[in-house]
Symmetry: C2
Amino acid sequence: MSSKKTDTRTRILTATWHLMEQRRGQGVSMSDIAKAAGISRQALYLHFDSRTELMIATVHYVDEVKGLNERLEKFQEAKSGIDLLDICVDVWGNHIPEIYGLARALLNTRDTDEATAAAWNSCMGCLHDVCHKIIEALGEEKILAAKWSRSEATEMLYTMISIQNWQQLTMESGWSTAQYISRMKVLLRRTFVDE
Amino acid sequence: MSSKKTDTRTRILTATWHLMEQRRGQGVSMSDIAKAAGISRQALYLHFDSRTELMIATVHYVDEVKGLNERLEKFQEAKSGIDLLDICVDVWGNHIPEIYGLARALLNTRDTDEATAAAWNSCMGCLHDVCHKIIEALGEEKILAAKWSRSEATEMLYTMISIQNWQQLTMESGWSTAQYISRMKVLLRRTFVDE
DNA sequence: ATCTTAACTTTACACTATGTCAATTGACAC
DNA sequence: GTGTCAATTGACATAGTGTAAAGTTAAGAT
């Protein structure tokens, strides 16, 4: 049932992904992608209407392959709000490096492109939900730091674990992934948990 | 002593700045700037070699006009590390909205443009210094939270007060400037200060 | 064996944006 | 007047995205 068209589509998606990671999301043109996929630039438009559509499809493809959703199932194991917080930072902190280039490409164009912004927000929605769950759990356990309303805490948590902050700390300040995870856990626990 | 050339240069810089703030740093072409400054597109290149150079010059111009440096002199009044931290969030939190569009434009191009990245880092250097001073002060007063090394704390503080985080909390989550400042102070104090 | 169709190719073009170049105009100084 | 500076106009080069048209190749149906 795997038609030629489906094969090529997959080849394009993997090529896009690999190029994005290789070049950290910068300087990847449609020509580059076509060359990497072994087809002509114009043939790309037989599969995807626009660059934006290709980017979004690649995000979904990577999500599927890497299975962030399955990774987040680790959450079922969590026994407390603090557990949830730690697992979230572990899973997400190890996930970011694998999608960094693609994420950069999307973040850079989302300002000018409405569709990209929408796709990005929908992808990030699941992370936002996770943040919400964590704060709710801390709230129910009565250990959410008193100075935070639940909605404010959710937004702040979501902001703290953003890809931009990961980039700043690892790419610019030179932290390792382990260091990022460890320090971020400290920051989040001190910020949101009264112990 | 104000030659015609100097006048035009200033006119270009103010036009660039205003356009950037109006359009939040997006979709501002050299043609747009020329039109707003009342000159031809080509004449821009008599004053600035490239778009990048114009952007950087505009940043310096805004810095001069808005006087971030003078604002940071408020720091002389600070009597403690905690004072420093609060003043920093106040000053910076009120400064960001005035440079947001321009900052966006620079952040978007710094990945592809080495000169932009360098200019940006040099501008942000003073903020990084401030972060360093704050952490040193907290360290000397023995109230820097034990889990942080001074260099790690500096990087983390610098990351927390980034423009990207301001954007996420205000533009995307809808917080007011006052709310941003208040919540950020809470986060930073809880994170870095042992009381 | 022939016809059809899907997938892809090549070539060409339109559009936008940055940046360069040459010839020209207008104003002002000496 | 002559020279010079500031700016103008128009033409052009380049890079990237996206569109359109005509031709090729190979698999499948009849």
